[in-house]
Point group: C2
Chain length 159, copies 2
DNA sequence: ATCGGTAGTAAAGCAACTTTACTTGGGAGG
DNA sequence: CCTCCCAAGTAAAGTTGCTTTACTACCGAT
């Protein structure tokens, strides 16, 4: 007996599926953080917090990690500083350098966001297991390596 | 004997892997189209061409498909019309409506882009098979269904 | 002493949108 | 008919998140 209901997703290009899946997962993630009171932070701010998470960084270092100009990084830092998520300190190495570090407010966000993301991914993994599938971690990693080799570029807005 | 070189991608969240994979595939796709002489077209233009591919559409219909305001759709159409990729015709249903249809120039692009994308995805699939993996089509489709149900929203820039 | 390189900042420019506000053509109801 | 309203389309200004251009400040080396 032939299945007559064709799933439109079965004929959709892998590239579209990747984009849709990423957009939906990120949207769900951002939505949960908004609901948790972080509606003043965009995904890029999470990347900033991750980059500064350890001992902080200079704005130029941050710019390189984000894949933007140092002026853009400076603007993001200005904004986050005004809203008390980061602070500019004198850099131990001296010079004109300034060390940008996270406030406790940002570290709290980082913890909440990490927890939220893992819960979301765990729920997704469970839903896939229900239909006999696993999360395609190895497949995605292989695609990334095939296209980027060992040097993975920064995650940027897609178009 | 224990493997000592941990692949950083193995510890990376699925969400990041999705984003990286999409960004890299789309970047490769756009790069190939640029090289083929289509450096004046962005991904959104491809979506427009797909939406108008059959019998055309009105700018409001296009706006809904793209998930933007009708003014934004109008601006995109203005631009594409100036560059002879689309034409505004009188709409058979009359009224203020105008039917936006593709020129041959756009249909050629659509064919080239489709071919390019399939070649790219086929090469990727082959590279995955070399390491014993398959393209994660079912997994991505399951993730999309888990998050969007049956109503898949338009593909938009991600942040 | 000054030269050059790097960090940071300031200001203007730009692309791709949204928001606000208007115009126009065509029914539907009275 | 007439008018009232709605949907399609357009115009213009505003917004966002960057880049480009241009500058200042600090340092170490020659």
């Amino acid at each position: 007996m032939r299945v007559t209901t064709h799933d439109p997703l079965e004929r959709t290009e892998i590239t579209f599926l990747l984009g849709m899946a990423f957009q939906l997962v990120l949207g769900e993630f951002v939505g949960r953080l908004d609901a948790a009171g972080y509606d003043d932070l965009r995904p890029v701010h999470g990347l900033v917090f991750q980059a500064l998470g350890g001992a902080g960084a200079t704005s130029s270092e941050l710019a390189e990690q984000l894949g933007v100009t140092k002026q853009a990084a400076g603007q993001i830092i200005d904004d986050l500083e005004r809203r008390c998520y980061v602070e500019r300190q004198a850099h131990p190495a001296g010079g004109r350098r300034k060390l940008v570090v996270l406030t406790d407010r940002a570290r709290t966000h980082l913890a909440v966001a990490g927890q939220t993301l893992h819960e979301l991914e765990e729920r997704l993994a469970a839903q896939l297991r229900e239909v006999g599938l696993e999360m395609p971690r190895a497949e995605l990693a292989a695609m990334i390596r095939a296209l980027a080799g060992d040097s993975v570029p920064p995650l940027r807005p897609v178009w």
